[in-house]
């Protein structure tokens, strides 16, 4: 028996507790796709939030 875990954390964009729960739900959904793991990024993101914003910046430059 194994477990999968997703982690959600409050951000300024979240206007209700449901949004936080949804974010954690997205993360565990992704973790369950691979099983027996902790999804490594918060709120079900595919990459760390800082990395995403950095990439976006470089695309714009």
């Amino acid at each position: 028996m194994t477990i999968s875990i997703g982690v959600g954390t409050l951000t300024s964009e979240m206007d209700s507790e449901e949004k936080l729960l949804d974010a954690a739900d997205r993360a565990v959904y992704l973790a369950k796709g691979k099983k027996d793991m902790v999804w490594p990024h918060l709120n079900g993101l595919e990459a760390p939030a800082a990395q995403l914003s950095l990439d976006s910046h470089f695309e714009l430059v």
């Binding site: 028996m1 959600g8 954390t9 565990v28």
Partner: protein, 174 residues
């Protein structure tokens, strides 16, 4: 009086679009800012109220809190975090392939495993954390005052502990 509880239960039910247990409405009132609301409920008999509360608040198999209470507790934590600019995080835990355990060994064995998982989760959390059995094989842990990176570290520790547990013959699921 008790009608206040009924009124609050109805109001919450309308807000949430489903039936809400009276004990949940009571707990919601405990988070209300008007203490006069709470005094209305002292007329409830202590024993019946305790039974009501126990049934509504705790999952009978895992001894974790039940989903009934998550909404009101999470709403309070969310509002507190917003008001005082505090961090707040959540773990969503799902048991992989749990259906196969029930299908293979039966539901009573499944319940035994759930009971074990409930104790396991409790053993690896901090006192301030709030673990809930969210659904069949799903668990949600509210982590007040917790930044995302700390929550991720906690999740990884819990996951590593589950792997070590799996390797112990006495505790492995057959």
């Amino acid at each position: 009086m008790q009608s206040s509880l009924e009124a609050h239960t109805r109001m919450l039910s309308e807000q949430m679009g489903r039936d809400v247990h009276p004990a949940v409405a009571f707990l919601d009132l405990l988070g209300a800012e008007n203490p006069n609301d709470i005094e209305d409920f002292v007329i409830l008999k202590e024993t019946s109220f305790t039974d009501l509360l126990q049934a509504a608040v705790h999952d009978q198999i895992t001894v974790l809190f039940s989903r009934n209470i998550l909404e009101s507790r999470l709403r309070q934590e969310f509002q507190r975090a917003r008001r005082y600019k505090l961090p707040l995080s959540i773990l969503f835990i799902d048991v992989d392939d749990f259906k196969s355990i029930n299908d293979t060994f039966g539901h009573s064995e499944g319940d035994r495993v759930f009971s074990f998982i409930g104790r396991f989760i409790l053993d690896h959390l901090r006192e301030v954390d709030f673990p809930v059995r969210y659904g069949g094989e799903e668990f949600v842990v509210t982590l007040p005052h917790t930044e995302g990176d700390v929550a991720l570290a906690l999740a990884n520790r819990l996951h590593e502990a589950s792997r070590r547990q799996k390797e112990r013959p006495c505790c492995a699921v057959r």
